[in-house]
């Protein structure tokens, strides 16, 4: 059971539930879990949000920007510069907005070795830093489900475990993030085409175009999407200045966001942050079009499976036992 004692009123985000007593037992072996945001932080965030709404300053969003796919290079330059200037004015941080393009013949895919994953959640934390996820309210793109050994039962899984040490004997861990489906149900339902699948397989969102109806969240079978119910606040010192326009730039309140396989890194030849942070080597990432790519090798040599295959979503995120 999850979220016990976390009533909607008492908890600003149900994804940041009350941590057990374990969190206070001193420094854990690995930096695990999450702490409840304190009341003052929430209040501060609310005040900031009101101020932002009142002064009209957002995250560089402009009501009349065109859809990403319709932007010329000149539009992009202008919009990126505007966002950079607004971010500097608001946070004092110099960020660089870019929009790396998909490469020909590349289709990205992920593979994850469940026999190696020990539930340390470093992937989720590295992801949060790379992708400028807010501290208040706290949410993550990667949910690591803790389940009893011998089951793959989501209903009895726990994504909010707090342990001093992982893995806990008798438990197995299943990290879930956006599966970048080849037949994505979320894309189909969007009423304004604010989300789509790029030629290299990345499912992305145009934050300027999203109307915030959350139909895509209802449509996603993997809990792969997050909505900014509150003004997202990232501490200036935590802001990653290397920002992609349709990936990790600072998002405004009221739009949907998600894992993009770190588009801003992977399209320029780097690994996603979650993979680099994984201490067990459970994560593999690569180009399905490359016969010698990591993921291709796993697909050929291991017995892989995908989550909820019966739904016909064709995930590009494969799980296997190494």
């Amino acid at each position: 059971m999850k979220n016990d004692g976390c009533t909607p009123r008492a908890c600003p985000s149900s994804e940041a539930p009350v941590a057990g007593a374990t969190a206070e037992r001193g420094a854990p072996l690995l930096q695990l879990g999450r702490r409840p945001p304190d009341r003052r932080a929430i209040l501060g965030a609310s005040v900031a949000a009101v101020a932002a709404a009142a002064t009209g300053s957002g995250c560089g969003n402009h009501r009349f920007d065109a859809h990403y796919k319709e932007l010329t290079d000149e539009d992009k330059r202008r919009i990126f510069e505007r966002i950079e200037a607004e971010t500097r004015a608001r946070t004092g941080v110099d960020v660089k907005i870019s929009a790396p393009q998909p490469m020909d013949g590349v289709e990205f895919a992920y593979a994850l070795d469940l026999s190696l994953c020990n539930g340390n959640r470093r992937c989720a934390e590295a992801c949060a830093r790379e992708n400028n996820l807010p501290d208040v309210p706290k949410f993550r793109y990667i949910q690591v489900l803790e389940m009893d050994r011998g089951t793959l039962d989501f209903e009895n899984a726990n994504a909010y475990y707090e342990h001093d040490e992982v893995p806990v004997p008798g438990k197995v861990y299943l990290p879930v993030q956006c599966q970048h489906c080849a037949n994505p149900p979320c894309v189909k339902v969007c009423p304004v085409t604010a989300t789509w699948r790029e030629p290299d397989g990345l499912v992305v969102v145009d934050y300027n175009w999203c109307i915030g109806c959350r139909y895509c969240i209802a449509a996603c079978p993997y809990f792969g999407r997050r909505f900014n119910f509150h003004e997202p606040t990232v501490r200036p010192r935590d802001i990653n200045p290397d920002q992609g326009y349709i990936s990790n730039r600072l998002r405004p309140v009221g739009v949907v966001e998600k894992c993009t396989f770190c588009l801003q890194r992977t399209r320029v030849g780097r690994y996603p942050a979650c993979l680099e942070a994984c201490p067990t080597g459970a994560r593999k990432f690569g180009n399905l079009g490359d016969p010698n790519g990591e993921v291709r090798i796993m697909l050929e040599r291991k017995r892989v499976y995908v989550l909820k295959e019966e739904l016909g979503t064709l995930p590009r995120f494969y799980y296997f036992y190494g």
Partner: protein
């Protein structure tokens, strides 16, 4: 411009009224202001002011929206006997059904508008200027059919009113009136498909959903109609044939029986099969892993619906106005629970990864919703106050106490 002066006189009716009328309008305006204040707070702070979260991404607003689409669709229940079978007692009051449809659709649109995170971006839905994902996204279909329904019924209402005010016949509009019948089925079917098409949500992804939507709509809409007609009868002292009410009640009885049958079919499939898809149903009626927020409501709804069915099935009961009204209130509450939170929340509970987030509407959501319901009531009140005297003047109604012809 005799047309406008004629309508101008009618408009004066809006500001004329007794103490009860003024008190009612004032009360609605207070509620609307409360709703506005709450909505401004939500605009400034984000949808975090609601209790919706990523696990339960839709809540009270979309629940109300779904219920009201049903109310709007049910206006046809007045149109069918009136125009297809030429049942005179209902034909006299059919325009009130259209008025209710218009009001309900306006409320639907408001409920969707307050639910989006970026209302300033709603222009992205407009063809040519924005990029509506038509015909792939069912939400764009819903926008088309709802606005179409609003247009059709609004046009019929004002056209009939205009013709009646000039003492002319309005039979030329009959094709449009007939079109509104399949269109009403359409708005409800499309709204059901909006949920139905989501493979991620087993509770909604069942073929029984659209039929159940229609069945429950044909319970709640007419039940509301029966109550409103009596209020109109009392306020305007016009004679509404009692046979119209009992005829509507009879139709409600069939719809209610069918709705309960469909619920039973659904319950059998889930509880006999015991697959993992039973979880939302368990959450609704038994509670799941210690979470039972909706359980008392669902059993209340079931009890109310079954009691109302008993009241409506027996002619002796439904011909008794008091029992009829009790039955109508029961149905309204029952369907409001079942087709509101009882439909939306279990789609998300447990969520796609099995997590249970217990959703209860926040104060903001309740206040905004109260405001929208009040705007609907105000819209209906003003339009009724504006139009009914026109019909009375044109001798469309017999006034109470007058000898009927």
């Amino acid at each position: 411009m005799s047309v406008f002066s004629g309508l101008g006189t009618a408009a004066k009716e809006i500001v004329r009224g007794g103490r009860i009328y003024y008190a009612w309008v004032a009360l609605l305006l207070v509620f609307i202001s409360l709703g506005l204040v709450a909505y401004v707070g939500q605009l400034r702070n984000g949808l975090g002011m609601t209790n919706m979260r990523n696990q339960v991404a839709w809540g009270f607003y979309i629940s109300n929206f779904t219920f009201l689409v049903g109310v709007a669709a049910a206006a046809v229940l007045l149109v069918i006997p009136a125009y297809v079978y030429n049942f005179k007692p209902i034909k006299e009051i059919a325009f009130l059904g259209e008025l209710m449809a218009v009001t309900a659709i306006v409320m639907c649109i408001l409920f969707v508008a307050v639910d989006v995170g970026g209302p300033a971006n709603l222009w992205h839905l407009i063809p040519f200027i924005g990029r509506p994902n038509f015909p792939v996204s069912l939400l764009t279909w819903d926008i088309v059919v709802l606005n179409g329904y609003l247009g059709i019924n609004g046009f019929i209402f004002f056209y009939v009113l205009y013709k009646v005010s000039r003492g002319q016949k309005y039979s030329r509009i009959l094709p449009l009136i007939l079109l509104s019948i399949p269109w009403a089925v359409g708005i409800h079917t499309v709204t059901a498909f909006l949920y139905n098409g989501l493979v991620a949500r087993p509770f909604w992804n069942a073929a029984i959903l659209a039929p159940r939507f229609l069945a429950s709509a044909f319970c709640s809409g007419p039940a509301l109609m029966i109550l409103v007609l009596q209020l109109v009868r009392r306020q305007f002292r016009i004679d509404i044939d009692g046979r119209a009410l009992t005829k509507i009640a009879e139709l409600v009885a069939y719809a209610l029986a069918f709705n309960l049958f469909l619920l039973g079919a659904e319950a059998f499939k889930e509880f006999y099969g015991q697959s993992e898809h039973i979880a939302p149903m368990k959450y609704l009626y038994l509670g799941l892993h210690g979470h039972h927020a909706l359980v008392p409501f669902m059993w209340t709804a079931l009890t109310l619906n079954v009691t109302a069915l008993m009241l409506f099935l027996v002619p002796r009961f439904r011909n008794n106005v008091k029992l009829l009204n009790v039955g109508c209130v029961f149905i309204l509450c029952g369907v409001y629970i079942e087709k509101g939170l009882g439909l939306v929340v279990p789609g998300f509970t447990p969520d796609a990864l099995g997590e249970i987030y217990e959703y209860v509407p926040s104060v903001t959501e309740l206040a905004v919703s109260l405001g929208i319901w009040s705007s609907g009531a105000l819209c209906f009140t003003l339009l009724a106050k504006f139009s009914i005297p026109v019909f009375i003047k044109a001798k469309q109604f017999t006034l109470l106490g007058e000898p009927s012809e």
